[in-house]
């Protein structure tokens, strides 16, 4: 990513303010970047120029009248393809929704547009957000812009690649077990999920409803804060969205980090971690210490059970949520002589390998005779993992870990072994299960030049503190440590 390529929300605003560029010209510029780079990266699945230019013209007209600033006026953004966009094809990276055009906007999309954002299009992702490499998309993998031949992470791989390569200023992703944070780490950009309930899920096509969250991927922590500010808050259309007030993140994050107690859980630095990732994250932690944070060693004894727990709960919820794709109301229909045969053929051909695998696993875990041994047990272990966190947060204010055990792996490397792919989420599923907020921030690069990510987790609704640490880390040069 060259410096000339990089726009931030702040630099867009400044350029519009001095009339160096119009919102329409900026949208034009981004569409020409996409035209140049997307054939190679495959980050976008659909573009929405009609909608983008209409919005850009509206922003230009408002500015001509000297209207007050909108926080995202004219900012070109991309939306992960599992998030509904009215009139713009939304496939979830699946053949089963190849021609699906939602009749309404997700609340997060509506809020972005109300804040002035220009929606460029929809980004590639693992099918129904199931994957850690973006290779499970029915429309082909995304290439990591920082490392050709390697995955961008997943499932929000298209959003991460688009932002990291300057094809969008910011993007929305979704995180169920690490799908925002891990691609952020792989592509070297900040990427955040708020607490469960912080951002409305209305219009997010569901994978696992007790885990799914929408959040931003950006190039700076300030942009992360601005994006989160816009999309967070209670929504009457999502009964699980929280009524807790949304603080002014951009102001809160500027507070000094001196005296903040940081937990370093031993279980996140064990076997299986790449030595270069370890070295970089330890250097990152050392930097936070030099900034005045206090380090506290932690034990989180149930960490090792998180992947097993996650892959029962997430697949059980997915098997239920994805039952709606049956060829009746939307998407693909493969004809059959009977209704049942039509369901089976439609789903058999419409879903890809990983989605079918997870539906099978979830159905098995919920089936008669196995419910207690798998699903109920997993829900109990989930409580133990959440308890590890609530106990830890009595002693510390935030927890710092690596985001992923390795940097971006090679395309194809883990495709034959689903379990190895699942283990890429080993440090991110815990925060997902506990429902707490987390950010991945860039933390230097390996000798080969592959980005490393450091994860900061906080208690429920402590987004301000998570951002505060990330912002201080960025300001002290942590991103290129």
């Amino acid at each position: 990513m060259s410096a000339a390529n990089v726009w931030t929300i702040g630099s867009v605003r400044a350029a519009l303010d001095v009339k160096k560029i119009s919102a329409r010209e900026l949208a034009d510029d981004f569409y020409s970047r996409i035209k140049n780079r997307n054939p190679e990266l495959n980050a976008f699945l659909a573009l929405s120029p009609e909608r983008a230019y209409a919005q850009a013209d509206k922003i230009d007209a408002l500015r001509g009248q000297g209207q007050a600033h909108l926080p995202l006026a004219g900012v070109p953004v991309a939306i992960k393809d599992v998030i509904s966009t009215s009139g713009v094809r939304t496939t979830c990276g699946s053949r089963i929704l190849e021609n699906y055009v939602p009749p309404y906007d997700a609340t997060a999309v509506e809020r972005l547009e109300n804040a002035g954002a220009v929606i460029l299009g929809k980004t590639n992702c693992d099918e129904f957000a199931m994957g850690s490499s973006n290779e499970n998309s029915a429309y082909g993998p995304v290439v990591n812009p920082c490392a050709p031949g390697r995955v961008p992470g997943g499932s929000s791989g298209g959003s991460a690649a688009a932002v990291a390569s300057g094809l969008a200023v910011a993007a929305l992703g979704t995180d169920t077990g690490g799908s925002i944070r891990q691609p952020g780490a792989c592509c070297g950009i900040p990427a955040m999920m708020g607490s469960y309930g912080r951002v409305s899920r209305y219009g997010l096509i569901a994978f696992a409803s007790s885990l799914d969250r929408i959040g931003p991927l950006t190039t700076t922590v300030r942009d992360t804060a601005t994006m989160l500010q816009v999309i967070a808050g209670r929504d009457k259309n999502d009964s699980t969205s929280a009524a807790a007030p949304v603080p002014a993140y951009s102001e809160e994050m500027e507070k000094p980090v001196t005296g903040i107690r940081l937990g370093i859980p031993k279980q996140y630095f064990g076997a299986g971690m790449d030595p270069e990732v370890r070295r970089k994250v330890e250097a990152g932690i050392d930097l936070l210490k030099r900034l005045g944070c206090q380090l506290v060693e932690l034990q989180m004894p149930h960490t090792d059970y998180a992947i097993a727990t996650y892959y029962i709960i997430a697949t059980a919820e997915a098997s239920s949520n994805l039952a709606r794709f049956d060829g009746v109301r939307y998407g693909l229909r493969v004809p059959g002589a009977t209704l049942r045969e039509m369901y089976k053929k439609t789903r058999g051909r419409g879903f890809g390998a990983e989605v079918k695998r997870r539906i099978m696993l979830g159905t098995y875990a919920l089936s008669s005779g196995y419910y207690g041994a798998y699903y109920l047990r997993a829900q109990k272990v989930r409580a133990l993992i959440a308890r590890d966190f609530s106990e830890a947060f009595q002693r510390v204010d935030a927890i710092v870990t690596p985001t992923a055990p390795t940097p971006a792996f090679k395309l194809g490397e883990k495709m034959q072994d689903p379990l190895q792919m699942y283990l890429a989420d080993i440090y991110t599923v815990t925060g997902s299960l506990a429902g707490i907020p987390g950010i991945s921030v860039p933390c230097g690069k390996t000798v080969e030049g592959l980005p490393v990510g450091m994860q900061i987790l906080g208690p429920h609704f402590s987004e301000s503190r998570v951002l505060q640490l990330a912002y201080a880390f960025e300001g002290a040069g942590g991103f290129s440590i």
């Binding site: 009457k236 699980t240 009746v328 695998r357 099978m360 098995y364 997993a378």
Partner: protein
């Protein structure tokens, strides 16, 4: 191997998935190795642990019905009032086989 071919076919039937022969073999092997990994959950004593079904409730409290974590984070239910639905036509126009106000499917009732 814990998972039999019959298990795979049974689960596929429950999930309404038509599988090819190759898929049956593949999923049998893969589900077997994933479920073997998941067996590790049996190492833990969860006898007196309440299952966590709600994120915004305190998991460390003795009962799963404990009060919300902090303040009024648990949103109130909305009033049960009618609201107009304006997307009916758009929804039907995206359906694979719609007729007037209906989705058409293969015949399910014999008369």
């Amino acid at each position: 191997m814990k998972i039999t071919r019959e298990d795979v076919l049974y689960v596929a039937e429950l999930a309404h998935l038509e599988l090819t022969e190759a898929e049956v073999d593949l999923y049998r092997n893969q589900l077997d190795s994933i479920l073997t990994y998941i067996e590790k959950l049996k190492e833990l004593d969860v006898e007196n642990v309440e299952p966590m079904a709600q994120v915004l409730f305190d998991a460390s409290a003795p009962s799963g019905n404990a009060p919300p974590l902090a303040g009024d984070l648990n949103p109130a239910l909305r009033d049960d009032v009618l609201r107009p639905c304006t997307v009916g036509e758009a929804i039907l126009s995206g359906a694979p086989d719609a007729s007037k106000n209906y989705f058409r499917v293969p015949k399910v009732i014999d008369r």
